[in-house]
Symmetry: C2
Subunit: 117 residues, 2 copies
DNA sequence: TCGCCACATAGACGCCTGTCAATGCCGGAG
DNA sequence: CTCCGGCATTGACAGGCGTCTATGTGGCGA
């Protein structure tokens, strides 16, 4: 299978990650895509969301379980969840009237690789 | 050897990190401090700066070596460097007329720990 | 079909932030 | 002391983003 590219981690259709910062020069284009991914995590509300989901049973939770602890409006929570899904950090699954959000472990692994020196 | 606190990583005087997101509930206060740290990395220009420093000899570089590759003004570069220093990701050292910036490896380790599940 | 419930989307507003030009500071050479 | 080069700081502007209220959508039960 040869030529195992170390670049993975796409945002939507975007190729983004994931070699450590020190291995190769970082061109502007890739830097901007990586920044978009990191911006998704670099928000207090979204960090709390990720923490809540990470600690929920089966590592998944619906919106109604998340609005309470955060003290924020339901639309606001939905907005942040959309950002995390677009970044590939959460996966959405519709089940009955509820929408469940689950952690995407691989994407966190990619972030770790990026930040390794 | 007893009581190894897993919380480290301060921004300036701030205690911030570093247990994985899934180990304990993340209160608003710590979430905001963690977000400030991540925001420092979540910018394309600063990612390029970190990459340039990481690949420089001895993992350190002065401002004059950084403005060229980025195509940005010197004040802008200085601004971003200050952000990274305040976040604890770079260390500044004055040597003659130049100011050298060096990676702080421990801080990157902390970020990795945070993003581990 | 009708109505309800959980959730998503749209629009608006204020704050934060990345960028620049202009200026100030500081250390070394003469 | 004076000048100059490297770097930091200030002030201003535009764009991005987090939050809200109001409204739309979609599935389930009666």
């Amino acid at each position: 299978m040869a030529a195992v590219t170390q670049d993975r981690l796409d945002i939507g259709a975007e190729q983004v990650c994931c070699t450590p910062l020190s291995t190769a020069p970082l061109d502007r284009d890739r830097a901007e895509r990586l920044a978009r991914l990191l911006k998704a995590v670099a928000d207090p509300t979204r960090l709390q969301l990720l923490s809540l989901v990470a600690q929920a049973p089966e590592r998944e939770a619906c919106v109604c379980e998340l609005t309470g602890p955060l003290g924020l409006t339901q639309p606001t929570v939905s907005h942040h969840l959309k950002v995390l899904v677009d970044a590939g950090l959460l996966a959405r699954e519709r089940r009955g009237p509820w929408a469940f959000y689950r952690l995407v472990v691989d994407r966190f692994d990619d972030l770790q690789t990026l930040l390794s020196l």
